[in-house]
């Protein structure tokens, strides 16, 4: 925020008012935090020994959390790679000169953007076995992530390709390149560079969505914490429950914040470089950073 337009620069009186408001507000928030802390302390949740379990290798807790973290990253990595490749194919398909290919790609994209990701995962996990195909939780989760995100990524790539000045395409065709060469050598490299920030934002969304594995019992972070709790509860009561939940949640949040920072850094770098200066004019498909930002219709 440089020069505020919505309000005057506060004078001495307003400054004093703001200061008083700040103090009162801070007291309120501190009070709220204190309330939560006393609640926690009252239940003995703040005891150091209860938190130590998270780092004590003998209990197996760090190992389990580590393994589930790897599981989370694994499914996200598979999803990212395959969804990106499939998304590229779909985007090219939707821009194809053959009506049938265009139509099929469009149908795929609109269908998978219109239904909730969890329904896709459930369909793979609960309905497919009825037809004799039994995907594991990993396969169902990865499959859902790929089907859904490839549709979203395809729209991102398409917007990128369409945003390239048409002179580029015409010049490449004029040089005698084939259509596939124009696409792979001229259009896609420029489009990818232009769409990089949105692309990465969508990949962060994919990582976030991998937490859906919890619901179908894939052994990711939340499920790991839950199973540890189920293991400890008969032995120690619910002594470590809260700590384990907090740990799993925090790991998720930290990873997502880190990836978002990377995305932000790349976005700023892209904006500075002259080659991608037009990035602001591109009409993005919805706002990609939103959880599942797609619309059912883009009429």
């Amino acid at each position: 925020m440089t020069t505020p337009v919505l309000f005057d620069v506060p004078g001495p009186k307003a400054k004093a008012r703001i200061r008083i408001g700040t103090v009162i507000g801070a007291l309120l928030i501190l009070g709220l935090i204190a309330l939560v802390l006393t609640r926690l302390a009252g239940n003995g949740q703040l005891d150091g020994q209860r938190w130590a379990v998270l780092f004590d290798a003998r209990t197996g807790v760090p190992q389990t959390l580590g393994r589930t973290l790897v599981n989370t990253l694994e499914v996200a990595a598979v999803g990212m790679v395959v969804a990106t490749l499939l998304g590229l194919l779909l985007a090219v398909g939707r821009l194809s000169e053959h009506a049938a290919v265009r139509w099929l790609a469009g149908l795929y994209i609109e269908f998978f953007r219109a239904i909730p990701l969890l329904v896709v995962i459930f369909a793979l996990y609960f309905v497919l076995p009825k037809y004799g195909i039994r995907p594991s939780a990993f396969q169902a989760l990865a499959g859902g992530l790929i089907l859904y995100n490839s549709a979203v990524l395809a729209e991102i790539f398409r917007a990128g390709i369409l945003s390239i000045d048409k002179g580029q395409r015409e010049a490449a065709l004029g040089l005698g390149m084939r259509k596939s060469q124009v696409m792979t050598l001229v259009l896609l490299p420029q489009a990818t560079r232009r769409m990089l920030p949105v692309l990465i934002a969508q990949l962060v969304v994919l990582l976030k969505d991998s937490s859906l594995g919890f619901i179908i019992g894939y052994f990711e972070l939340l499920r790991g914490a839950r199973s540890l709790v189920e293991f400890f509860t008969p032995r120690f009561g619910s002594e470590y429950t809260f700590q384990l939940y907090v740990a799993a949640g925090l790991i998720y949040i930290v990873i997502n914040v880190l990836l978002s920072q990377v995305a932000k850094y790349i976005e700023e770098r892209t904006r500075r470089s002259a080659k991608a200066a037009a990035v602001k004019d591109v009409a993005l498909p919805a706002d990609a950073p939103m959880g599942d930002s797609s619309t059912a219709s883009t009429t």
Binding site: M1, V5, L6, F7, P10, A14, I18, T22, G25, A26, I29, V36, R39, L40, N43, Q45, A114, I115, P116, L117, L118, V119, F122, A123, F126, V127, K130, Y131, K208, D209, S210, S211, L212, F214, I215, R226, S238, T241, F242, Y245, V246, A248, G249, Y252, I253, N256, V257, S260, A286, D287, P289, M290, G291, D292, S293, S294, T295, A296, S297, T299
Partner: protein, 215 residues
């Protein structure tokens, strides 16, 4: 299809649950999101900081984790919510962060002259926001807000993992049905979601054309 007809009551109840969950969470998100957007442009720095912190935290937390804390975490400190209330709160609090970002981009899109003019005729910050800036901001953000709410309806499916019997939860619940029956249920669920999202998208489109300001 016979199976679907037999279980129509179940499907209908689930549809109503999804609908009411979406409506309540949407209302919460709209109100809270607008307040957060106002806080983010307010003259009081700590308020700005707090709203920014809220938005960044919720945007970087998977919705499943929000649900997880609401349903399993809060009871540990003796706040016990019902499953449906927990679902409404999780979905509403999460979506509010995205509503805030949409509304804020709308506020930035209102030309500076409008805000300057309202200051010049002596309106306070609250007045100029309420009477001049926000009414124009909302008109420009109808499409992105619509996208946020459509995404929210789809996100409401996550409540299925946390004991709310909404549309998606029918699949695991009826998993003992045979192949044809379960496929029919899947089809019913997909159509039911589209019955919410397609009219919503259509309504947003109509509203957009109706309230658009020509600049």
């Amino acid at each position: 299809m016979q199976f679907l007809a037999d279980n129509f009551g179940l499907l209908w109840d689930a549809f109503l649950t999804t609908l009411s969950l979406s409506l309540l969470a949407g209302l919460l998100a709209l109100v809270l999101g607008t307040l957060l957007a106002a806080a983010r442009v307010s003259p009081i720095p700590p308020l700005r900081g707090l709203a920014t912190f809220y938005v960044e935290t919720f945007r970087n937390t998977p919705l499943t984790v929000v649900f997880f804390f609401m349903i399993f975490g809060l009871p540990q400190i003796d706040f016990i919510l019902g499953f449906f209330t927990g679902a409404v709160l999780s979905l509403g609090l999460y979506t509010a962060a995205f509503v805030c970002e949409a509304v804020r981009s709308g506020i930035n899109a209102v030309s500076a002259g409008q805000a300057e003019a309202s200051r010049a005729i002596g309106l306070t910050f609250g007045q100029s926001l309420r009477e001049v800036v926000l009414p124009q901001a909302f008109r420009t953000v109808v499409p992105p807000l619509g996208n946020v709410f459509i995404a929210m309806v789809k996100n409401s499916s996550i409540a299925a993992g946390f004991a709310t019997s909404e549309l998606s939860s029918l699949l695991p619940r009826l998993v003992n049905a045979d192949a044809g029956q379960l496929t029919a249920v899947l089809l019913g669920v997909v159509i039911a979601y589209m019955l919410i999202t397609l009219p919503l998208a259509f309504g947003v489109h109509r509203l957009e054309r109706r309230v658009a300001i020509l600049r």
